[in-house]
């Protein structure tokens, strides 16, 4: 076992940091207060990702046959960490390179690959993920947005909700129901967001402007060729996608960086001497580092080519604990940070506070740990 980064991994991290230093504007910290899905950050990301592509660090972890450099999971992790600590200047395009691209490569038709992969590699496309519905959140398989095949076209009707990036995305990775079979009746359709019949409404939130939306589909008609995979194959494809994105965003890194920033502010103001503040800060640091090592243990399994199972849920829940602790530490000891005194800590709070809700709720992670890590007998249904 080796807990230090190799020289090559360190060099890769520094390459990214140097790039960020050279390409983020001087007022970036204030600017990044705009959420990752905001119009301002999305517009910024369109230029920034093109530069990343030119520098060869937009998708270096992709295999050589996809045009990547074939770097491994550790480099993907390092790339994600550095971008997230910096406030995610890729905006929503992080999804493209983490899972949409690899999923297109595996399941897409030649036409779909030709149409969608190249814009991703140029840093020019933005996707949204049409999964959750008003009555299908954690219980995703109960989704009802219906797609009906009629004369060579799918006609789609229904509603999605809490959809990130929908306001500005070019394409939706949409889960639809094509039959009543709970999981085997779900089908993916790639829907251009400018198709007539789509209405996007922003949901005002405290986690940043432009972040989440309702999306309505009223007889939205797309050709049958927009189907991704076979009818009923969505559950399998999404499971594959999650293998590329199982750990989700490396939130623990930003939590730790925010904690360090909070401590620095407290020190500058002479407010870090009291023992209970120091102890609470250390407790937060322990939770951040705990989450980090738990996440790294999962990355190692990817490196070793092993199947990743429920241990990723354990790592994700550790991250939720860390995010919660740091968010609460800042509010308790630096309440002014969320009211203008620190754009960085406010940005962290807005992104960190959703850790237990976004991309699979914390309680679902606990269910998975109970059944698949601890192997407890299942609850009766």
């Amino acid at each position: 076992m080796q807990f230090e980064w190799t020289a090559g991994q360190d060099a890769f991290r520094h390459k990214i940091r140097d790039f960020l230093h050279a390409n983020l504007p001087a007022d970036w910290e204030k600017f990044s207060e705009h959420g990752p899905a905001s119009p301002a950050l999305t517009a910024f990301a369109r230029d920034f990702c093109v530069k990343l592509a030119d520098a060869g660090i937009l998708f270096p972890h992709w295999p050589l046959e996809m045009g990547g450099e074939g770097l491994g999971p550790w480099e993907q992790q390092i790339l994600s960490e550095e971008m997230w600590i910096a406030g995610e200047p890729r905006g929503g395009q992080y999804m493209n390179v983490n899972w949409i691209g690899p999923t297109l490569e595996k399941y897409g038709t030649p036409e779909q690959k030709a149409r969608y992969l190249e814009p991703i590699t140029r840093g020019e496309s933005l996707w949204c993920q049409g999964f959750s519905e008003p009555d299908a959140g954690s219980d995703l398989a109960s989704l009802r947005t219906r797609a009906t095949l009629t004369e060579g076209n799918y006609v789609i009707s229904g509603q999605k909700i809490w959809t990130s990036y929908a306001g500005l995305a070019d394409t939706c990775f949409l889960l639809t129901r094509t039959s009543d079979d709970r999981k085997k009746g779900i089908t993916i359709i790639l829907v251009p967001m400018d198709t007539p019949g789509i209405t996007v409404r922003q949901i005002p939130s405290l986690i940043g402007e432009g972040d989440i939306h309702e999306v309505f589909f009223d007889d939205v008609t797309v050709p049958e060729t927009a189907r991704f995979g076979e009818e009923g194959q969505a559950w399998e494809i999404v499971a594959y996608s999650l293998r590329n994105e199982r750990l989700g965003i490396p939130r623990f890194t930003l939590a730790r960086a925010a904690l360090d920033r909070a401590v620095t502010m407290l020190q500058e103001q002479g407010r870090f001497a009291r023992e209970y503040v120091r102890i609470e800060a250390a407790r937060c640091a322990a939770l951040c580092e705990a989450a980090g090592t738990a996440n790294y243990a999962v990355v190692q399994k990817r490196v070793d080519g092993l199947a990743i199972g429920a241990e990723s849920s354990s790592a994700r829940y550790a991250t939720v604990m860390a995010e919660r602790a740091v968010c609460e530490f800042v509010v308790e000891f630096l309440p002014e940070a969320l009211a203008g005194a620190s754009p960085y800590l406010k940005m962290h709070h807005q992104r960190g506070i959703v850790a237990g809700v976004a991309a699979g709720s914390a309680e679902i992670q606990l269910n998975i740990i109970a059944s698949d890590v601890l192997e407890l007998p299942r609850e009766p249904r």
């Binding site: 076992m1 807990f3 640091a285 705990a290 090592t293 007998p377 609850e379």
Partner: protein, 305 residues
Amino acid sequence: MHLSLNEDQRQVLDFIDSLARPYAGVPLHDAGLTLESAELDAALVENGFLDVLMVEELGPVTAALVVEKLARLPFAVEAAASSFVRPLIDPDLPRPLCLVEEGRTGGPVRFLRPGASVVIVGPSGVRSFKADESVIAGAQEDALYAYPVAFLTGLPDAMTAHEVDPAEVLRSWRVGIAAEAAGLLGAALASTVTYVSERKQFGRPLATFQGMRHRLAEDQVMTNSVYWLALRAAGTGDPGDAALALLHAQEAAKRVCYDYHQFLGGMGMTLEHPLHLWTYRLKLLTAELGGRGEQGLAAAEALWG
């Protein structure tokens, strides 16, 4: 970064598994609150398992893996201090080692008995002496801890001074105890999971009730991350990592001991079940080195000055 076990580590752990197999079971009822085995201890010494830190190709991470593994046994083994502190001060110091903080000599001392090496660690240095009956007061016979404990009645005038940085000893001490706590946490969790999966109430296993499942899952998250933080602290040798590892271990112990006794109901309170062998060791470890607060302060000092 490489977090898989290497071949040497796998072999060491497999060897311990075979060696410890006769000690994996628990003699119930008559075992009392503490359980030790001189034979197991001798076998570990004879095979060099408490000295792996000094073996170049094994080192501190393997030592932490060994301590963690041994702590899972129902039998208490003085492994953490011998594995992590003894090599720093004197590899020939007689075992068991009893680590005591200068100025905190009044608490229960684990494994204290005639012949043990007592090591006093503090700002004025690191000193040791061989304990004899004149400085030992036995604990109450039915003391609740599942480690053998006794009290120091005083310190001898003459002690052996060791030329070693006390801060380095404290760091290693924290790593050793964090690794021991990781093993205790793992064993206590496994033991509880087995029980609640078999015990039926209302016609179904207790483990099928979500109120219990979620708390056990959270306990797993804590247990898993204590393991990794302990190994990392061993691997990096960083004082901040060591303080964070023990802080997290003590936080976890406080939480899970309550849960597990609660989930075992009456069985957790009687000696019909071995749970106490792990939890009532963990409880004493929550007080080690001044407890969570002291680890927090040490970590804060190391991280932020």
